[in-house]
Symmetry: D2
Subunit: 342 residues, 4 copies
């Protein structure tokens, strides 16, 4: 029966937001061994109807406060628009709930810092939904970078374009770039130093096409191309390293990640002042990737973090680092592309 | 026999530079009906050997001045490094020769303006080798834009990456972006207003990875991604318009240009303040493209321009417009990405 | 409450078989407006558990006879192994139920003929699950052929290969070729005349790699390549016609069907005995396809056929024609590839 | 000067046939260190004109007999229609010339046997132009099979289709299948036992679409799909083995050969009569392939074989084995697909 506090190590969840992504959160939390979904809140009557039909045994309510104030709930998953994250997360933390929050973490860095401090004081966990970190592809890429297979990184270059879905509250950078920024934050160990963003708005007052460069220490450069107005869907990332390079095409059914034994090195020849560039060209290989659903992996890990009292890799601090880069990009975009230091 | 002045309308060419691209120029000029190649100059003995073996009946010389001063030569094709274009073209024009010059036209806008003025005074033709304008793909794209098939343009987004060939005298923007800028200059009728460029150098003191945004009037935005350190070769351009969008993949054997009957429009519904975005999604089609070699087409047209005394579409002014955007990009890159007005 | 006979035009279904494909049948029938699922039978306890968990309100039983003998059930969907189709369908028809049966219809043509006669006598409907006929791709292809867009057909050439799933009761032809044969039967209006099949068995006593040619009247030829041992999944069909040709790649997310304005015609030139072949090469286009789930479409249509007392396009006769080609293929395969007339 | 016998180890060639493929033969033989082209014969005046223009210093003649009877010529390359191979090769061998002959070797097996015997008696070399054996792809595939990387072979399945070029003297099997058969003959060590071929003629009296199965010992099966009426060009081969499988796509610029660590094995579990099939699924890799032009490699090897008096791997016997399979296919095709033993 719902609304009974679980005696064991199981974590009881309340969900705020049952729009596009919320159902995936509920489906996974409902089927994990150590978690239960106790209640779902959504302001939209149609969403509540869908939720109730799919889960006749879960309480469905229009009021987020029902979730936040429930004594039977241990953790709140906030899957609502970005602008609402801060208020909802703050209320949840103040009521002693752990928080799982959709990306981007908050609308401003200041909000993020406040939530992190609040969670620290109350010894609660925050997890920001950087789902991609839990995909087989990003786990493999992280491993390849950490083990030095790629050598020193040169660049990270991502294209993430498609037709729609237009957001009405944020521009295309805040909508799509958090995916890339969370991966970049996770994979690149150099320090992000400055951001440049350009873009244009065509259909309303938010940019629908945008380009973002992040300068890192050690000559690492990242670039993100996001676009709501592309006739084709592209999800391709190039990562160049001194020893090897890789292509990650997330739309391929198999062989999403291909590693090329290719590279270029600068050398000097004896007696010459001039630099020479040597190319290497060898085999390509596509490692087998884990097939488990990333979101399931992530939520399972969140339950584990709550149970063990440890902070996840995608905690509030990770979410904050992404928000800081987005804030800098917004400032740069406002000046049509000036350099903004982080 | 060589070095005899042609009585008819035939144009006699001298070629300066027989490295990577020069042989293609010579092969085409030698086989056109109304042009002859009289002499080839190259400072490199190996290049001269190759030239002489392939064309036993053409004079081969180490000295560009032999070409420039020859009374039997009507037009000079300058296929040498960018830094030499200005001096060679100036000398050729001063000696009354028409000039075909490799891209980029010159190293500075000031040089370009001087050459244009010189040609004007002497009623000589300048053609800058913007070969892509003569491909079946760009001709079809131009036609689609001009006839309004795409509707008002939203953006032009090009990726031009591969492993090598590192240039030692210019960065990757000056090497690869002229292709895109010449097409952008030709296809987009809005006015370029400002440029932002970012990038990084890894192997020597020139950027090997770079990204460039060009802001145009009427909310048109162009973006160019160039990279000498990519494990895979990509030559893909997305062009978004209000009515339709297209993808040009220059590496496809057939179907290089695909037009999507897709788009998005902003509308307001009665009684709502909020903007709505409507999507359209229909057929795709790939038009049959002309198969003629672009360079042959271009050189044939140059001979015709010389004969008829008319300026080509890719004249010095077109070359200058591209150089101005490259200059602005260089200034922006020097500040790691500030906005530079044109 | 289950097991109440519906007063209106709604059709009550019983499902036999809840393995791999059965859940899709149940999901669709349960959500259609004019159908209800009353009971599910499966001999496997795990399958029954899955069914009961997903549909707490539907009766689940190990006994097919519970379905067949139920007075509350109007129609039986038989989603069990091919070898059981005949007995189950016969019992269902004898009990006055309409029958939806998985492909292949039966194991022999004689069985199929008996079922068709039985259904005719009792005025019941049989539908064989030739799902592909209801996809947007096949509907478009059928339209293109019927409207003469392709001109007279030359050939139909399908590749349907992947790794696994090995069947233990039939060979790869009986497993995969029914898809192609049902489409061929639907699309090609010429008469199938003879069959040749070759193949080899590597892992057990059923062929895992096989190739099948069907000769039709009017010089139309069909070829099917099926393989359980391919490292890559391929679902590609070429259809050549006198006027145009098409490629159907069922694994593409968009643009599954591409039509090429290409062709070849034989001509004779005046004064020559020799034949000349003229090629045409023009545009390609990819029409927008309907997006509705094929199975839903098919089941909705079955309910409509039952209600209106009309035979579906994929009735027992269509199923029988496919079985006849499979029987002929089996005979041919037994002789390692002799010609078997239909 | 032409027609002088070379003192050293250099081989003097005469070429018969300067149509589509002949120029490639001449270009390579003319640039190899140890070979010279002395004369070119072609019955077509246009071809002679092209030859003379490209090679002003080579004798060009309409008469093959000029080549065959020349005392200055050591070896004859026969690049003429298949029907002429036997007579020309016989005359050349009778005049003491080594013979390089286009595929297919001869029109009948009997002709092939006669030529082989003739060459044996006179200690002359025959090479049949099975160019694909010298490509980086086939060399790598051969190595993978020989080293047991793929394990025991299951099947070889090739698709070689495109629009045109219609041949007027042979059907599509004799035109395109020799490529595959020569590779199959080289790569598969099991013994070919029987052939089945089906096909249809649409435009004239030769089959333009055909399918061919070759049964080998040890349960190896090969299949070839050739088609002159395909809207798209496909050159893809699947090779399945017990341990690994590969895909060779000859139209890919890079990564033509991909090896999949995938497979299936039959096992029996203790206490079960039933067979179980186990699947493996692991990494994929694309080995770097040699980039040298295959034809250059082949001709260089022929010169070496002549000089050293050794028979090439693609000697008359290899050519004969291919012709025997083609002959069997023709007989099978004549009966619309009966099994023909080799």
């Amino acid at each position: 029966m719902p609304f009974e506090r679980n005696g064991g190590t199981s974590v009881n969840f309340g969900i705020i937001g049952y729009g596009y992504w919320g159902p995936n959160i509920v489906r996974n939390l409902a089927s994990l061994e150590d978690s239960h979904v106790i209640a779902i809140a959504d302001v939209d009557p149609d969403s509540r109807l869908r939720a109730q039909k799919a889960y006749p045994n879960i309480k469905v309510t229009p009021y987020a406060v029902d979730i936040i104030s429930s004594t039977k709930i241990d953790a709140v998953a906030i899957i609502s628009p970005a602008a609402t994250h801060y208020e909802l997360a703050k209320a949840a933390l103040n009521n002693g709930k752990h928080v799982f929050v959709e990306k981007p973490f908050t609308s401003t860095a200041a909000q993020g810092e406040e939530l992190i401090e609040l969670a620290r004081q109350r010894n609660l966990r925050i997890m920001v939904d950087h789902t991609f970190l839990f995909t087989g592809a990003v786990r493999k890429i992280t491993e390849l970078v950490q083990e030095g297979i790629l050598g020193n990184l040169y660049y990270y270059d991502s294209i993430r374009v498609n037709l729609g879905n237009f957001q009405h509250d944020v521009n295309v950078l805040w909508d799509l770039a958090p995916h890339d920024l969370s991966i970049i934050d996770h994979v690149i160990k150099a320090t992000p130093e400055a951001v440049v963003a350009t873009g244009e708005r065509h259909l309303n007052h938010h940019e629908d096409v945008a380009f973002m460069t992040v300068y890192f220490s050690e000559k690492v450069i990242a670039h993100i191309n996001v676009n709501w107005l592309s006739p084709v869907k592209v999800r391709t990332t190039l990562i160049g390293g001194e020893r090897r390079m890789l292509v990650w095409n997330d739309l391929e059914a198999d062989e999403k990640v291909k590693i090329y034994d290719k590279g270029a090195e600068a050398t000097t020849k004896e007696g010459y002042y001039k630099l020479f560039v040597n190319y290497r060209s060898g085999n390509m290989w596509a490692p087998r990737l884990e097939q488990i659903e990333a979101l399931r992996h992530e939520l399972c890990y969140f339950v584990e973090c709550i149970t063990n009292g440890k902070d996840p890799i995608n905690d509030g601090c990770a979410g904050l680092r992404v928000v800081k880069m987005l804030e800098a990009a917004t400032r740069s975009l406002g000046k049509r592309g000036s350099l903004v230091y982080l």
